[in-house]
Point group: C2
Chain length 261, copies 2
Amino acid sequence: MSQTERDRPSVLRAARERTRAEITREILDAARRHLATDGASGLSLRAIARELGMSSSAVYGYVASRDELLTRLIVAAYDALGSAAETQEAAVDREDLAGRWAAACGAVQGWALANPNEYALIYGTPVPGYTAPAATIAPAARVSSVLLGILRDIAAGRPAPATAEDDVPPDDREALAPARSIVGPEVPDTLLHQGLMAWAALFGTVSFELFGQLHGIVGEQPGDREAYFAESVRRWAAQLGITPAGTAPAARKPARPLEPA
Amino acid sequence: MSQTERDRPSVLRAARERTRAEITREILDAARRHLATDGASGLSLRAIARELGMSSSAVYGYVASRDELLTRLIVAAYDALGSAAETQEAAVDREDLAGRWAAACGAVQGWALANPNEYALIYGTPVPGYTAPAATIAPAARVSSVLLGILRDIAAGRPAPATAEDDVPPDDREALAPARSIVGPEVPDTLLHQGLMAWAALFGTVSFELFGQLHGIVGEQPGDREAYFAESVRRWAAQLGITPAGTAPAARKPARPLEPA
DNA sequence: TGTACATCAGTGAACGCGCGTTCACTGATGTAC
DNA sequence: TGTACATCAGTGAACGCGCGTTCACTGATGTAC
């Protein structure tokens, strides 16, 4: 039993650390709940303490300041969204590019609808007076990494510039340099630009839905928003040159001729 | 001079109304300035009063409440953006559909970059605890009206469903009903859907730029953002079947075949 | 087994600040007789 | 021309609230001898 005795302090320490982690988690959960009703700039350490039944000063044992709490929430949100996109995209057959694209888009939209306040925290108006520290950069990049990965595989499955409708102008090629340094040289400029456009369109669409901009434009009956989103996803995929499984990706049929009169 | 005498009271009243309007304008201007540093939820009547050198209670002579001030700011922002889009689009030759599209997009982006805080007020995260009254609906619709007008003219210049790559699935057609009731029956489903996608993509792109999401993706050298945006505008237009003046809009060449090996 | 000590999570009062909104009032201006 | 009155923009004090952060402290728990 000397074993037990020697371990005791660390067992206790471990237990303390466990409750500490648990309380920290509860603080973050409460903070997330407050995000819903008051928004990021209404986030209040005192309100959280009140809800958890502790004194306002006690919170400072777990969180250094309001800004630090905000940073943790932001990082957690990026990580949650990023891992949703990663796992859902990874679950699809690597060959099925359209399926992977749809999975990634669906993950983003699904997570956003399930966590509207955390979505707004990271993709809505930046919190005034708060500047995101470096710790948020890596988690923020996870979703775009997934999308860029798909882009890379689209390029890989295509013999050089296949759909080079028109190449990108030189000043745009320069503008794309940072993205290029992430994605590598294999992805043609056109595809890269089109990919970024789809990326912005995806988040634009999700934000429009969440922020009420689709009101009076896209129906709100059950199924309407799903149908609209699904069709958009399909069309973004088509713009990237990938079509749902069953259709050969490389062989895009030309525009259908006018209906026979 | 009986004329003058009879008019006098109304002349005075008119003067009073003029100064009243002027002070109201100054309150709105100060509010806009505060939006920049503190965001919508940090907007404070007391701070505005302080800046204008009046007592906080005096503001209530011009503005009924904080919420009413917010509503006025929102309406003013929608109107400013809407009229920018309207006038810039109207200045282009009606025949030049791609030019009109580019003008509308440019107006939106230009206004947003010049007025980032007002843009965030209307297209960013909704202000928590504030619900937009009916008075905001009409001004909010101005930009989309401009875009839908272009869509209508695209359809008019095309002999029925010309580019029906694939029609829209029935559940999506239903989802598009509200938009359809605005745009009228002449615009084919495909074009309508594609138009809404371009609309969401436009605002998604502007929001990404303004909210810092393009950092590390699209360059920040002088000219980079302009080039990226211009190329995106061109490609959205191409997706709508319109190409810059000089190219015949109706005659879209089918996807170029693979390069001869 | 018993006592003195260390650790440490949590308390509660306080500082100094800000806010929206109300309300009785002042004081300048113009009006009516 | 002179006086009593009405109008009305603006004041300043007050109400009741909330906030982030600090700091001296309590009190439970475990440790060492």
